[in-house]
């Protein structure tokens, strides 16, 4: 016993208590006072993983799938995490040479040792399945699935559009997206982006120190389920679209077909086009720049919406209607045509002559008649000046859909050209009259319209006075909820009785007039040819028509660039479209063949998908 030192036990215990008191204070600081550790723990172990839902599919009006999703598998590798593995085994699965694999791995390492690189792109499902079983043998590798768009029927590229990675500028405006997300860039993909993309979900997962997923956080209580994108039903008749593209092969131009009663676009061809599958997956950017740099054919340019053509004689229909509505002529008004309309020394020629009323003016596309009608419209005594008269005409033509965008679900529309009063005032220093601009009466001069606007005019005529804004999506979602964006009936402001002589003229044009080439047995067609003068070369062949007259099902506008007379190409093509749409078969195979095989341009824009 050391009683001398017994008091030391107190010191020992006190020192121990003191040390532990320091620890307790420290623990209090760490656990209770300092909140940062909680955040850091969460940052450590909880990862938010975005779940991108599958994009909605697109069907045509007859339920054919036209835009599908295809899952592809990429073999990824993070060079830093790669450990020694059996290269022979991996090469066997991928069916590549060992040297090739080493080359790819080297490339990945150069790109970034810590970021994933693609080692093998778009593996087949079989290879993927086989590889998946052996993945544990290849540390540092993993398989990533990606959903790509695919187009079972490779048509309607302009309308369907394409998707691509979001740009940094877009990211600044759109908070929904993250870098690397896909977004609709054009076509339906763009205008129905919100419906198609669905709603991203998120998964909270626990990761371990090596960033490996270890399971869900709180059993997934805080997960947000991804909402799949809505499927869309397009107004397109994909078979008709395909047929139209075939007819337009080797030609520049456009076909627009509209169901008049609804404004639904049945087909909308812009030629030359391209295979939409080109802008998918790994060769997208390569193919895109190829298409983009084709300055001769401009395959990416959607002529149906963006090209602004002089509408030519088909524009006479609108002018006739406006003149009637403005009261400057009636069904019975006769102008005599002496083979042209003279303005001073200048004559606008006409290939026909004689006394002409509205019906025969339309039937024979009389330039004189419509120049006078237009002159009389803008020089109407109702108005004090030509400016007011022109403004009245302009109001009408605007209500008929010209000089403005429809703001439809097709992106990148052009407004067309309908000059303002101010424009002419400025141009002619306030001194002008109807004759200065009379060529507008026959669709030439300072007027421009897109094929869509022309097709819409025909739809208005078919409907005798109203239209629905042309659009390409009819139903949204699997319940096929009708697309409510375009249900407002747009009135043209032209009384329906005024349409009768115009339609009659169009009917006669097909029967005995300028457009006899459009005749189809058993179908009554009202049509109007046009020859749009082209300052850059041969005239554009134009034809506008609808059928059947009694109960219009389809309104078609066709423009073939440099195709010459309206009757030569546009007219038969429009007629074939109608025949195909209404009868589902074409009996005039000779005509069909002639149209298909006539090529004005060399199309070198058919790069194949396998090209690398």
């Amino acid at each position: 016993m050391n009683p001398l030192f017994q008091q030391r036990k107190v010191i020992i215990i006190l020192v121990m208590l003191l040390i532990m008191a320091v620890y307790v204070i420290r623990l209090f600081g760490l656990q209770v006072v300092d909140q940062t550790y909680k955040d850091r723990a969460a940052a450590n172990a909880i990862r938010e993983i975005m779940v991108t839902p599958p994009r909605g599919l697109i069907y045509d009006r007859n339920d054919s799938l036209i835009v599908a999703n295809e899952v592809v598998y990429n073999l990824m590798a993070i060079p830093k995490n790669i450990q020694a593995f059996d290269t022979f085994d991996l090469c066997n699965i991928l069916e590549i040479e060992k040297e090739e694999l080493i080359k790819r791995l080297e490339k990945a390492k150069v790109y970034s040792p810590i970021l994933p690189s693609i080692i093998e792109q778009q593996m087949s499902k079989e290879d993927y399945g086989y590889l998946q079983e052996k993945m544990h043998k290849f540390p540092g590798f993993y398989v990533e699935s990606r959903i790509l768009r695919s187009y079972p029927i490779p048509v309607a590229a302009h309308i369907l559009g394409y998707i691509g990675e979001i740009t940094e500028e877009q990211l600044k405006e759109e908070t929904y997206y993250q870098l690397g997300d896909y977004i609709g860039i054009s076509g339906i993909e763009k205008s129905y982006e919100e419906e198609l993309r669905g709603q991203k979900g998120k998964r909270m997962v626990l990761v371990d120190v090596h960033n490996r997923e270890q399971g869900s956080y709180k059993n997934g209580e805080e997960d947000v389920r991804a909402v799949p994108g809505e499927n869309l039903w397009s107004t397109l008749d994909i078979a008709l679209q395909e047929y139209g593209e075939k007819l337009m092969e080797g030609k520049k131009g456009s076909i627009v077909a509209i169901e008049p009663k609804t404004g639904e676009i049945l087909c909308i061809v812009s030629s030359p086009s391209y295979d939409p599958n080109l802008l998918v997956g790994k060769s997208r950017s390569k193919n895109y720049s190829k298409l983009y740099t084709d300055s001769v054919n401009l395959p990416l340019f959607n002529r149906a919406l963006k090209a602004c053509y002089p509408p030519g004689s088909t524009f006479k229909l609108a002018n006739g209607l406006i003149a009637e509505q403005e009261g400057v002529l009636t069904e019975y008004t006769i102008y005599s045509c002496g083979g042209g309309y003279s303005i001073g020394n200048h004559v606008i020629g006409c290939h026909h002559s004689g006394a002409t009323n509205l019906v025969s003016g339309v039937q024979h596309s009389c330039n004189t008649y419509f120049c006078r009608a237009f002159y009389n419209t803008v020089s109407n005594h109702r108005y004090h000046s030509v400016q007011e008269g022109y403004q009245a005409w302009r109001n009408h033509i605007t209500r008929l859909g010209f000089g403005q965008k429809f703001n439809t679900d097709l992106p990148y529309e052009s407004k067309g050209i309908i000059p303002s009063v101010e424009y002419f005032n400025k141009k002619y220093k306030n001194h002008w009259n109807g004759n200065y601009i009379v060529s507008m009466g026959i669709g030439q001069g300072e007027v421009g319209a897109t094929p869509l606007q022309m097709a819409n005019l025909i739809a208005i005529i078919a409907n005798k006075g109203y239209y629905y804004r042309p659009h390409v999506v009819r139903c949204i979602g699997d319940k096929q909820t009708p697309n409510m964006r375009y249900t407002q009936r747009m009135e043209s402001g032209i009384e329906s009785r005024y349409f009768n002589p115009v339609i009659e003229g169009m009917r006669l044009a097909v029967l005995h007039g300028t457009a006899t080439g459009a005749k189809i047995d058993g179908i009554t067609i009202a049509g109007k040819t046009g020859t749009a003068q082209n300052p850059h070369g041969a005239d554009h062949s134009v034809f506008a028509c609808f059928a059947p007259i009694e109960d219009p099902q389809i309104a078609v506008f066709v423009l073939v660039e440099n195709g010459g007379w309206g009757a030569s190409y546009a007219c038969p093509i429009a007629s074939l479209i109608i025949e195909y749409y209404l009868n589902r078969e074409v009996k005039r195979t000779d005509l069909e063949q002639r149209m298909i095989s006539t090529h004005f341009i060399k199309t070198n824009n058919k790069p194949t998908k396998t090209e690398d």
């Binding site: 017994q6 030391r8 121990m16 850091r40």
Partner: protein, 420 residues
């Protein structure tokens, strides 16, 4: 006098009931913590698996319980009688391990037989405690004689040196915890204070540089000389001490800059806040603090920890098991655990002081010293107050050797202290 003493028929007769209860509580908490830190959130159904860590630990707990019961049954005299032999055998054993042992995690301190591994150094702690108790309790020992202290230091330096040969620095340090025992048995307070001063000088040298350390020493020297008030003898002594400390400073500086491996230096730098390297040496400590800190006041709940389950915390079953408790049971759980340990240590000290024999008292202090030192180092390192030194948390960390070692220590004390 103590509850349980009435149960003369039972093998636990006289054994302190509270100590037993704390022992059982700690073992139970430890097993729960090990279960939790190996808990796999992904597994849907968990079958009890003896090959998993918690299963193996349970086996060790059962083995320890059996050993504990045996100790309580045998004659307490054999400990004193055979202390020397036990000590020599254990020293031989750990020395053999240096040459023939298995290398696990860089420490060559393991005996491996098949899948079974054991660290005999844990037994050496018990043996040294016994040996010291026997040495100090021999009546003829004149504690005032310095040679006896040299001999006593020798007894702890032998296992410490062997531990260093095993590259097990943590265990080597544990043997110095017996200085608490020495202090109780009359070791010079001045020398202990000098030892503490040495530690401070060491810290200043590493954390700042040798010039700061020497400056501090100089200030202390001047103060001491003023207090000595012209006593030449004492002033000379002060200068001698001062001189040796200055030499010590240079030695430390030399060792730190020239001898230590870069990773060891990094460890020391990190604890002294000299370098920030969140993905390197700092990583472990950081993760440990994040785990404990994220526990909050009441913790995330049992099996709901994230940091200690997803391997963010290194050695989360062994040396850093306290993180698991801190994360899942929070501040409340942490102080309860510390409270349990402190109660155990103080209870051992109190029982030692009341012990009938010097042997029991000294042995008891040895046990208290070791347990407290483990607690001090282990919890200190997880909360970033002490450099990371790998020694287990008594009775809680995963590991059979440590479990068995502490069981031997505690049950032998229970047996000895029961023999009034």
């Amino acid at each position: 006098m103590y509850p349980g003493i009435e149960n003369k028929s039972r093998f636990t007769k006289g054994a302190d009931k509270y100590l037993l209860m704390i022992y059982a509580a700690l073992v139970f908490i430890g097993w729960l913590a090990i279960y939790s830190s190996t808990y796999d959130a992904l597994a849907e159904v968990r079958t009890f698996d003896l090959t998993d860590f918690y299963g193996r630990q349970l086996l060790w707990i059962l083995v320890s319980a059996v050993v504990g019961v045996i100790i309580l049954l045998i004659d307490s005299n054999i400990f004193q009688t055979y202390a020397g032999i036990i000590y020599i055998v254990c020293m031989g054993l750990i020395l053999l391990v240096v040459f023939f042992g298995a290398d696990i995690n860089g420490a060559k301190s393991w005996i491996r037989i098949g899948s079974f591994t054991f660290q005999p150094i844990e037994l050496a702690k018990f043996a040294t405690a016994l040996m010291l108790a026997k040495f100090f309790s021999q009546g003829k020992t004149s504690l005032e004689r310095r040679t006896q202290w040299f001999f006593a230091f020798g007894l702890i330096l032998i296992p410490a040196a062997i531990a260093i040969l095993q590259k097990d620095t943590g265990s080597a340090l544990v043997f110095f915890s017996f200085i608490i025992l020495f202090y109780r048995e009359g070791f010079n307070t001045g020398l202990i204070l000098l030892g503490i001063l040495a530690i401070f000088v060491f810290v200043i040298t590493i954390k700042f540089n040798e010039l700061y350390a020497i400056a501090c020493l100089t200030v202390l020297l001047i103060v001491a000389c003023v207090f000595n008030n012209g006593n030449t003898k004492k002033i000379i002594r002060n200068f001698v001490v001062y001189g040796s400390f200055v030499l010590f400073v240079f030695a430390v500086n030399f060792a730190y800059t020239q001898i230590l491996q870069p990773h060891q230096r990094q460890r020391i730098d990190t604890i002294f806040g000299k370098s920030v390297d969140p993905k390197g040496a700092d990583f472990n400590l950081n993760q440990s603090k994040i785990a404990i800190g994220s526990g909050g006041f009441v913790g995330k709940g049992y099996l709901h920890g994230t940091q200690t389950k997803l391997n963010f915390v290194p050695e989360q079953r062994t040396d850093f098991i306290f993180c698991s408790i801190g994360e899942e049971f929070g501040f409340l759980g942490s102080i309860i655990l510390i409270g349990l340990y402190l109660t155990m240590v103080i209870r051992i000290i109190v029982l030692s002081e009341k012990a009938r024999t010097d042997f029991t008292r000294i042995y008891g202090y040895g046990v208290a010293s070791i347990i407290f030192f483990h607690l001090f180092i282990n919890i200190g390192m997880t909360i970033g107050l002490i450099p990371v030194i790998g020694i287990p948390l008594p009775l809680i960390s995963y590991g059979g050797s440590s479990m068995l070692g502490f069981t031997l220590l505690i049950f032998t004390f229970l047996k000895l202290s029961a023999e009034y």
